[in-house]
């Protein structure tokens, strides 16, 4: 991501809007991610959390506005430079997005083989370390993704995201579909990863235990079709405890998992 100026946000969405065809997902949102923090993005399904993450890593281009890395808009960068700089960001996909045709070992080693000239021995050593970091035995390395459980896939996805020792890690719903124990395992892995080395993280989640446990700062997005005229799509920005104590019923009911307001809206509709 180039030279660092720590006073600048590491990643910034500046007045970003995103449309897919005629469907508007994000409108004029601004989010800043600072060095070393863990930012948690929350909001109802379809409000644009995952789209925001894909904009942050440059997998999607904004319809308007700028996505900046260290203060520089990434749209102005050549494609190959973007491809190289993107390696500083690790991405744990919602469904892990492991390559079906490759083994666990090959999945974790993929980024290293594509972008470095490390020897096979050194790559094997890194893969073993990453498997150990995420609490998986070495015997998993020879398995194909189809042979793994949901929790194991997420952990292999995390090991793959960590293989290139990124400065930023984006977690897209890391605990969705997992049992409570495995959810806690993943939450602990996020914390351990941050403790091992200074890494900046963004976590998209619906799990309030994850919000409480891992967040330094929480940003809540609201679906565009339910916003009041002139209202910003980012309806909350603050700490987790502030979110739980929020006077805004949309925020407090979301974090507490209460559906009263929503049911009333549905009844009116």
């Amino acid at each position: 991501m180039g030279e660092r100026d720590k006073s600048l946000p590491l990643i910034e969405l500046r007045s970003v809007s995103k449309q897919f065809g005629s469907q508007e997902i994000l409108r004029d949102i601004s989010i800043k991610l600072y060095h070393g923090e863990t930012l948690v993005l929350i909001g109802e399904s379809g409000c644009g959390k995952s789209v925001s993450m894909k904009l942050m890593i440059g997998l999607l281009k904004p319809t308007s506005g700028d996505v900046c890395w260290n203060g520089c808009p990434i749209q102005e960068r050549p494609e190959e430079e973007l491809l190289r700089d993107r390696l500083r960001i690790g991405y744990l996909f919602q469904g892990a997005a492991l390559f079906d045709s490759l083994t666990v070992f090959e999945n974790i080693a993929f980024g290293l083989r594509q972008n470095t000239r490390m020897s096979n021995g050194y790559i094997s050593q890194i893969v073993d370390e990453r498997l150990n970091d995420v609490g998986l035995p070495k015997s998993v390395a020879s398995k194909k993704p189809a042979e793994l459980s949901g929790g194991m896939k997420k952990r292999v996805g995390l090991a793959r995201a960590l293989a290139l020792t990124p400065d930023v890690i984006l977690y897209d719903e890391p605990t969705t579909g997992l049992d409570p124990i495995m959810t806690d395992v993943i939450n602990n892995l996020i914390i351990q990863t941050r403790e091992r080395r200074p890494v900046t993280s963004v976590v998209v989640t619906h799990e309030m235990t994850t919000v409480r446990k891992v967040s330094d700062r929480v940003v809540m997005l609201y679906p565009l079709n339910r916003l009041k005229p002139g209202e910003n799509q980012v309806i909350f920005e603050g700490t987790a405890s502030e979110a739980f104590a929020s006077q805004d019923t949309r925020v407090s009911q979301f974090v507490k998992g209460e559906a009263r307001e929503r049911m009333r809206e549905l009844a009116v509709a």
Partner: protein, 279 residues
């Protein structure tokens, strides 16, 4: 009121037609840009040997049975269908020329390419489409691999290089089965069969069939990969991408066959003015 609603319906028809035309033009334009990007990456960085070998095995080796069956039946069908007409004129010994020239110039390349569009093209579109909907293509980007370089270039090269070879195999098998049926079942003299075949089938005819197959191979690969990369969401999207890949490849094969046929015939007369040919 009636005239207003009539105008509205006319406007809607024109609007829909316009929308479809724009969508079709956009899709063709997008395919062209996708092809240019593939060619740029092909010359910019070599694909990995393992990816190329894997795709060559999948596209080339695994297609051999389908191609052998296709070629074999074309040769026999041509022999059976042409025999009655030629024997009525007492020209059954010319069957070798007709079977062989039809095979190498037209039926071999077109039918082999059609079979491969079904077997290889649909599978490629479905595979890449699945990778798209499960975010594996995004994962490639995130891990510093250009998906077109990593996924499309090896498939394009494998189709481009191997479909002509598979076509040559289909031609060869068709010629063999046509000869076997003509000489063993229809009792045509083998010497005369080959005498006329040699006299009328020029090296240029064989070459023109293989040149066509190079274009067919490139078209199948590009259309299938493009459809896979532009696949819609879910199982429905993958299914549609696979079907669209086959239909679009088939139309492209027929259109390319016509235009290349015209071009190659003209070229023949430019290169050898006044020469004799069956076409």
């Amino acid at each position: 009121m009636a005239s207003v609603s009539l105008k509205d319906s006319e406007a809607n028809c024109i609007h829909r037609l316009g929308e479809r035309t724009i969508a079709a033009v956009e899709s063709v334009g997008d395919l062209m840009l996708f092809t240019l990007k593939t060619l740029r990456w092909m010359f910019h960085r070599r694909p990995s040997a393992s990816a190329l070998t894997e795709n060559m095995f999948e596209i080339g080796v695994r297609s051999i049975p389908v191609v052998v069956i296709t070629g074999g039946f074309i040769g026999m069908v041509l022999a059976v269908n042409s025999y009655n007409q030629f024997s009525q004129m007492g020209m059954e010994t010319r069957l070798g020329a007709v079977i062989n020239i039809s095979l190498v110039q037209e039926l071999g390349p077109v039918l082999a390419a059609t079979m491969l569009a079904g077997r290889v093209g649909s599978a490629m579109a479905a595979q890449l489409g699945t990778m798209k909907v499960t975010e594996q293509i995004d994962a490639l980007w995130a891990l510093g691999a250009e998906p077109i370089h990593y996924l499309v270039v090896p498939r394009f090269l494998a189709c481009f290089l191997l479909i002509p070879m598979l076509t040559a195999l289909a031609d060869g098998i068709g010629i063999l089965t046509g000869w076997l049926l003509s000489t063993q079942v229809l009792e045509i003299n083998s010497f005369h069969y080959w005498f006329h075949a040699e006299k009328y089938v020029m090296p240029y005819d064989i070459m023109s069939g293989l040149v066509k197959s190079v274009f067919f191979g490139a078209a199948i690969a590009m259309i299938a990969c493009h459809r896979g990369f532009r696949c819609g969401a879910g199982a429905e999207g993958v299914g549609r991408a696979s079907t669209e890949a086959f239909v679009a490849s088939f139309v492209a094969i027929l259109a390319l066959d016509f235009f290349l046929g015209v071009f190659l015939t003209r070229l023949y007369y430019v290169l050898w003015p006044g020469s004799l040919s069956l076409v």
